[in-house]
């Protein structure tokens, strides 16, 4: 995605660059009704080039499909067009995918919440089916045969009775004259040819040959580079600065103060990086200055004395605990972690007289534009935003601070500029996964049934760190879930599988503890609870019990749970982002330390669109979940992060990954979330396997700090 023609930016795209005329269909994605589809003639299309939400069948037979959502490795640029192409019966080799710029006429143009495919599934199918209907109608007309006698296959319409055959390209002009059908019939799942198969990433060629795809690669003639020195400690701000030395350095054009710090602007990245270090800045206090040691005390205080918000209450919890034969109680804690997508934050901005051009990687382009509009007081329709590929996101690029910074710097220096964050800026600059601590309590009756359950979650800027309508809610008569939040200047935000990425580990470890205390097999213990929730559900349940049961049984079967002598296994199952994933982790002891060798995973995410991409998402999520549970930790001293780069912030590497045995359940549901749901259960399965291997519960992340790995065992965050 490199742009060259400045004057065309208001038009977003030159139609002719993507299509050779033919059938040009626009859809109102927000409305699943095919009647809202519109046919454009090529001339109209040329004039209405901003019409983004469309698909074209060119006279050359090329099918062009716009992918509106930001691509950060979830492979949406491949799976979206697959859905359209399936219903269109297009020849996949003739399908072209184009990353769309921000356009109001797209619906839900964002990446987050594992929601894109579930949301767009019916709309994309209708788009494909509508075009197919019109192409068939055009062929039938030309041949003088009923449309019902015609079929479509790999980019051709066929009339089998007479052996006639026409390519989509030859029919495209005529199809454009066919009235848009009010309704279309979608395929039966069993007739899918493309959906459910493994299709390679459409961007492979460009990625593998080093093409300029990412925000950091974007270059515009005359563009300047900028880096910002932000206050190193949360709770401080710039008081004054001396830029004399920095300004005297080669290549430096200007040094300006911005809301978030002091920006150094120059002719190359390296010169700006060096000059930034030469800035002399004095900071002053603007809020609380906190350290990790303070947070540890705050957690204990909030757990014991905090004024909690009740999230859910069923039955009589007090009585259940009073009457209990046994009470199990445990606390779990997770530190802040950084998103650290491998491409650091960056954005290009060119603020001109009354208009703005933005280019770069972000997950919610619409809100980035709104934020820039507010800052500069320039109407949104005068701001364009072109999306580049994202070098990872993990939630970090949901926040638009770096986009706004770029616009601010450009407006001050009156030049096109790219703001770049160093790795250190990125890691110390906030929007972390919040640190949290949980206190769980379970009441068991004499036969080991869980009759009461209490959870209090406390966290730093964590909002509600519970998921009160998830399991075990629904399976326990007496239940209380509450939370307390501590407000801090340390900025936090959504991190891949927000909340559940740590809650699932804590809860699935605790349930394991309860099972052991009840003298039951951990898998059977959960199955009993699921059966109970099914037979006599208590209150609201956001999860489908049958799907929980199915993935649980399947993973037990595939992993040989409880049947393999001498194999140490830990189990976990979790529902998030509308999907269900169960895992069994296998541990061995090597040199006195546990090592996770294998993870069995069974996922029910409804209909799989791209099997290759789906496997990649789940395996990546397991690696990610295990890596952060083992190593991830960001601690604070006097408001400043103590880790700054990958030398002291450890990420999982190749020798540390487990083998993965992955199976998808075909539940017959439409697609549900996939980018996130396999991550939450991993920490729990790993912790439970390590418990079986060592007899030690892991009550805190990162696991590396535990004595089973030779750590201190003390809280170190």
């Amino acid at each position: 995605m490199q742009t060259t023609n400045d004057t065309s930016r208001r038009d977003f795209l030159k139609w002719s660059a993507f299509t050779a005329g033919g059938l040009v269909l626009g859809f109102k994605w927000a409305d699943a009704e095919a009647s809202t589809a519109t046919v454009f003639s090529s001339t109209v299309a040329e004039a209405e080039v901003a019409m983004g939400h469309y698909l074209t069948v060119g006279t050359n037979g090329i099918v062009t499909i716009f992918s509106p959502n930001p691509e950060l490795g979830q492979n949406i640029m491949t799976s979206f067009p697959m859905i359209v192409a399936e219903e269109l019966d297009a020849d996949w080799k003739q399908v072209k995918v184009v990353q769309a710029p921000l356009d109001n006429r797209f619906d839900r143009q964002l990446t987050g919440g594992s929601g894109a495919v579930p949301h767009s599934w019916p709309l994309l199918r209708k788009a494909g089916a509508t075009a197919r209907f019109m192409l068939i109608a055009a062929a039938a007309q030309r041949w003088g045969v009923p449309a019902a006698e015609c079929t479509a296959e790999e980019g051709f319409v066929l009339h089998k009775a007479s052996g006639k055959k026409l390519g989509y390209g030859e029919l495209a002009e005529d199809a454009g004259k066919v009235p848009v059908p009010a309704t279309v019939t979608l395929k039966d799942r069993k007739d899918f040819k493309l959906i459910g198969t493994a299709v390679k990433n459409v961007a492979n060629k460009d990625i593998l040959t080093g093409k300029p795809l990412y925000g950091l690669d974007f270059y515009r003639e005359g563009m300047l580079y900028a880096m910002i020195q932000r206050p190193p400690a949360f709770g401080t701000k710039v008081q004054s600065f001396d830029a004399t030395a920095a300004k005297a350095m080669p290549g430096i054009i200007d040094v300006v103060q911005v809301k978030n710090g002091v920006a150094v602007v120059g002719k190359s990245t390296w010169q700006v990086m060096k000059a930034k270090k030469a800035l002399k800045i004095t900071y002053e206090k603007s809020g609380n200055i906190e350290s990790t040691a303070d947070h540890d005390k705050i957690f204990i205080d909030l757990l014991n004395n905090g004024k909690a918000t009740v999230r859910r209450k069923d039955g009589d919890v007090e009585a259940a605990f009073k009457d209990a034969a046994k009470v199990v109680k445990a606390e779990y804690q997770c530190p802040f972690i950084s998103h650290s997508p491998l491409e650091p934050m960056n954005f290009f901005a060119h603020v001109k007289e009354g208009s703005v051009e933005l280019v770069g990687p972000c997950q919610i382009p619409g809100s980035a534009r709104t934020a820039v509009s507010k800052l500069l007081n320039i109407p949104e329709d005068k701001i364009t935003l072109e999306l580049t590929r994202l070098g990872g996101g993990f939630g970090r690029r949901l926040y638009n601070d770096y986009v706004v910074e770029a616009a601010e710097v450009s407006s001050l220096i009156k030049a096109p500029v790219k703001v770049i964050w160093s790795r250190e800026d990125d890691m110390t600059g906030g929007t972390y996964r919040p640190a949290v601590r949980y206190r769980f309590e379970a009441a068991l009756d004499a036969s080991g049934n869980m009759t009461g359950y209490r959870l209090r979650g406390v966290g730093i800027n964590s909002g509600n760190p519970t998921r009160e309508h998830n399991f075990p809610s629904g399976a326990v008569e007496n239940l209380l879930i509450e939370s307390v939040e501590h407000q801090s200047p340390i900025t936090t935000g959504a991190w891949r599988a927000p909340i559940t990425n740590f809650l699932a580990y804590a809860e699935q470890s605790f349930i394991d503890e309860v099972a052991v205390a009840a003298g039951k097999d951990p898998v059977q213990f959960r199955l009993d609870l699921f059966e109970k929730a099914k037979a006599k559900p208590v209150g609201r349940m956001d999860y489908n019990v049958n799907r929980m049961i199915e993935v649980t049984k399947k993973v037990a079967e595939r992993s040989g749970w409880g049947t393999k002598a001498g194999v140490i296994q830990g189990f976990s199952v979790y529902f998030s982002h509308r999907s269900y994933v169960a895992q069994v982790a296998e541990a061995v002891m090597e040199k006195g330390k546990p090592v996770i060798k294998k993870v069995y995973a069974v996922a029910d995410c409804g209909q799989i669109v791209n099997l290759g991409g789906a496997r990649q998402q789940v395996m990546g999520a397991i690696v990610d979940g295990m890596g952060h549970a083992l190593f991830g930790k960001l601690s604070f001293k006097d408001g400043a992060a103590e880790q700054s780069n990958f030398h002291n912030y450890r990420l999982i590497r190749m020798k540390e990954i487990p083998q993965v045995d992955l199976h998808f359940v075909d539940s017959g549901f439409d697609p549900t979330g996939l980018g996130e749901p396999a991550l939450p259960p991993t920490g729990g399965a790993v912790a439970n396997a390590i418990f079986k291997a060592t007899g030690k519960r892991l009550y805190q992340q990162p696991f590396m700090d535990s004595e089973v790995f030779g750590g201190s065992g003390k809280k170190t965050f």
Binding site: N201, L342, V660
Partner: protein
Amino acid sequence: MAIFKLTVNGKQQQVDVDADTPLLWVLRDSLHLVGTKYGCGMAQCGACTIHMGGNAVRSCILPISAVRQPITTIEGLSANGDHPVQQAWDEVDVPQCGYCQAGQMMTAAAFLKTTPHPTDEQIASAMHGNICRCGAYHRIHEAVKVASQKK
């Protein structure tokens, strides 16, 4: 600032930069060869891996003044994007976000030259220094294996 001459992907280049400028930024900012990526700037992640005289080197800590041998970047790994490693990476469909992959492939290509028939352990050790934040390690491992089986 000073003039430096270097050979990149078989082409003579001349740049006017500070002597301490890492090769990474010379490639990216001066020569607009942006396939080589910035991930950490301190030799921790491998995203910036290039070949110097055929060896895998981290360009983020290599000052331009220390460059004395020909440089190959991902753009020059093959003429048509069909180096065995690139082919294998496509066949195995490795990339997720894709940002780390140039560095992964440059590491793998240099490794396979010295170790044409690697064991699984050798592959894991050779690739251990390259971070993939997306966690695509299983496929990276498999792709190195597939590449080693190509001629």
